[in-house]
Amino acid sequence: MATEVVIPMLGVTIETGIIVEWLKKEGDPVQKGESLFVVEADKVVTEVEAPASGILAKILLPVGQKVPVLTVVAIITEPGEALPKEYGEPPAAGRSANASVEARNHGAEPVTEPAKVRKPLPQTVPDGPPRAVPAARKLAREKGIDLARVQGSGPEGVILYKDVATAVKSAHVAASRLARQAAERSGIGLEGIAGSGVRGRIMKSDVARAIKEAAAPHLGKVVQMDRMRQVIARRMAESAFTAPHIHFFTELRMDALLSFRQQVLQDFENRYRLRPSINDFLIKAAALTIRDFPLMNATLRGEEIHILPEINICLAVALPGGLITPAIPSADQCGLSEIVRQREDLVRRARAGTLNIDEIERGTFTISSLAQYDITHFTAILNPPQSGILSVGKTRSQLELNNGQVVSVQTCMLGLSVDHRVIDGAMAAEFLQSLKWRLEKPTFSFLHV
């Protein structure tokens, strides 16, 4: 018959316990009365004895989870006996004794008595002998390990079996005295540490490195930030954590703009040898709309909002190690051909790394487009000290109901992020709507240019 092992009643007031160490593995033979696991409850640490002899068939409760006392934490079966199938998969946090009532009807022996508790360990005494679970003491005695030099990893520094086991392994590794001491004090094992000393002897610095690596595991490769990365990191963090962002989205009908571009394309190529992109129309339309919403062109300085006289539109340009935002100056006053020319020049020089400071810093509003990616929409972080940034997703085909007819339309998601300290939701919404109107009626809008 299988025997359930429970966390015993540890005292009248104690309701929960945490297993800090299993002294046996699944599949190990156990003798009744032998220590099975170490449990901590209200800072009392005790070893719990096996309630029956047999095989520790299943551990149901892993180390470190707090559960009520009398929770079933393991099953001991008789040699040759199969594990009752209801214990096949361990539940995440063990089983409560109540839940196991059902299990009893399926063949497990009822818990007649809780598992026996060994004497609780003494509380810490300064400069006294170190606190260790009896199994750890036994192992230390067998292997000649001085418990005073073992760092306990149990609650309140109690030395567990595994701590002594680690010390036993370390004892056979070549290490300097200071290295051994440093390892013992930090509770890490010496085995596996690469030694830089003579014949691979582990030195203090090797242990220091191992401690550092253990503290920051899986850091992987360290990449030093270059200057651009540092600037991006600093500016983006500053923007994200000082300017309260609000985000707005509107779906733009692109058909009119796309066909308008097709109409002017040939003319531009012939006349100026330029190819206007959708971005150029966006730049122009945004600049014109900002004229009507001057706060979109503002920057916050202390207690003052400064509305900037020039409307200089930045375009975010992706570079191999980061991105840069050169600005087209007075874009509201430029003809479209001038915008195309400037945009081409700035993007080319951004990639060549030959922009000057003014071209990077003069911007008052930014457009960031990921239209060439399969990205429908995204929220952009403001380019400080600016108060608005437009994010542009990909253009896609959608079906729309138009006068009872299903028609295919081209749409694009336009996002706007603004600094709520400067711009409120209603104004941002009006701005975005106005921009949308402009872009959806390009012939009309760009007549004013």
Partner: protein, 468 residues
């Protein structure tokens, strides 16, 4: 032929690197414009020690209570010079043999670094030629610094270069600079019977050493009749045919003068940059010295620099350790030389052996330190030797037991410090220093006793008479 490694300079740094590299199977070229062995063998460590022991023997004989007629003992300075030359000659020949036995090519001539892979060698009186090497170690060393405004005539005003080959013995010596070189030369002159005055700009002699050691050395110097002028600046050296007068301003601002028939400039050493076209090569410097990283790499890829050229402690064994570190880096192994693991030895009127942090440095570096001492007065061996001046001072971290610094002044201190060096390189505890059984009667017991005393357990001290 392209060498795997070319080394410019064959001092202890250069030749150690050459031998290590040859042992690793590299094709090595060693360029030397003078004699193999560099300053250490020809103009530094070895010649001064030959003089030092002769002078010490003379003083011991003269001041002995048990020799008869010893007031008539005189020193034959020509013989001293001859013995020094013989010692140097023997060691140079030995070194030459070792170098050749390793298949190292030696090129005699001035070596100039032309590019990261090329050296131009100009032998004396013949045409220059160029050699190529995959890697280059610069180990050109240092030469005595002559402060601006002073002229070395080689006869009355000298640096150690001239002093060690001088045919006659001075009677009254003024040594400008009371650092390691000044103190060692002072001990030679004093033991040979000359009157010595030391003039030092800094507030103390041997300024980088532990304060207790400095005080002990100062006390011995004064007891032996030396004049020690600290915080003093030399204003002028005026010379006549046979004599000089050194005019200086002392700490109190008084202008004083010291007569001398010999003035020794011991104001430090400057790196030899003769073969380095600093402007063309774009090599990075730290002050006067070539800048290197922990692996002894200069700012020029494939070019290393070691020894006095890179500054720090200007010691032969430091240069040798750096030579090993540079060769280790060529093999892809990092073996940085830790400054606190380099022993410092000074052959003064008493020997000094020191390693690690001074008490002052240790206090700054650690939250808590513990210092213990053991006096030579309590050593049977020191009494039998008749040299009871001195002590061992041990500084450790009471928390971890780490040995932070060991400072010994007294007989055989320069030998004794090796034990501390070994213990520290093994990262031993203070207590390990007294774990091994020491032979009796030897002064090596003093270090053990100091380690015992660190835990108030010294055997040859009365109970709590000597505070830690």
């Amino acid at each position: 032929m392209i060498y795997d490694l070319a080394i410019v300079g064959s001092g202890p740094g250069g030749y150690t690197a050459a031998i290590c590299a040859a042992r690793e199977g590299m094709r090595v070229l060693l360029v030397e414009r003078d004699r193999l062995g560099g300053t250490c063998l020809n103009r530094g460590c070895i010649p001064t020690k030959s003089y030092y022991y002769d002078a010490k023997l003379f003083h011991a004989a003269r001041s002995s209570d048990v020799l008869l007629n010893n007031s008539h003992i005189a020193v034959d300075f020509a013989k001293m010079l001859e013995r020094k030359r013989r010692v140097v000659g023997t060691l140079c020949r030995g070194l030459e043999h070792i170098i050749h036995s390793h298949g190292i090519t030696v090129a005699v001539g001035q070596g100039d670094l032309l590019s990261p892979r090329e050296i131009r060698i100009t032998p004396h009186g013949s045409e220059p030629y160029q050699v190529r090497a995959a890697n280059i170690i610069l180990a050109t060393g240092s030469r005595p610094t002559v402060p601006r405004g002073f002229t070395v005539d080689g006869r009355i005003v000298q640096t150690t270069d001239e002093a060690l080959n001088s045919p006659d013995l001075p009677q009254q010596v003024v040594i400008i600079g009371a650092g390691v070189i000044g103190i060692e030369m002072a001990s030679i002159y004093i033991n040979l019977g000359a009157r010595v005055s030391l003039i030092e700009m800094l507030p103390d002699i041997l300024f980088t050493e532990d304060a207790d050691v400095r005080a002990a050395m100062r006390e011995i110097l004064i007891r032996r009749g030396a004049k020690v002028h600290l915080e003093s600046v030399v204003l002028e050296i005026s010379k006549s045919e046979e004599e000089a007068m050194v005019l200086f301003k002392n700490a109190a601002g008084e202008v004083l003068e010291e007569p001398a028939d010999r003035v020794l400039l011991a104001t430090g050493r400057s790196p030899v940059l003769d073969g380095l076209d600093v402007n063309r090569l774009d090599m990075a410097f730290s002050g006067r010295f070539v800048r290197v990283d922990k692996r002894m790499r200069t700012s020029i890829s494939g070019v290393y620099a070691i020894g006095d050229l890179v500054g720090g402690m200007m010691l032969a064994h430091k240069a040798a350790a750096e030579g090993e570190a540079a060769v280790a880096d060529l093999k892809g192994v990092s073996r940085p030389v830790q400054p606190h693991r380099i022993p410092r030895c000074i052959w003064g009127l008493a020997e000094i052996g020191a390693i690690g942090l001074t008490e002052e440095e240790a206090k700054a570096a650690r939250p808590r330190i513990r210092v213990s001492r053991f006096p030579y007065q309590a050593s049977g061996a020191a009494h039998a030797l008749g040299e009871t001046d001195g002590f061992v001072k041990l500084i450790g971290d009471p928390e971890s037991g780490e040995i932070l610094g060991v400072h010994i002044i007294g007989a055989h201190a320069t030998e004794l410090i090796s034990e501390a060096s070994t213990a520290m390189s093994l990262e031993a505890f203070v207590e390990d220093l007294c774990e091994g059984i020491k032979p009796h009667p030897t002064v090596s017991e003093t270090l053990s006793e100091a380690a015992l005393n660190w835990n108030n357990k010294a055997v040859h001290l009365p109970a709590s008479r000597w505070p830690r």
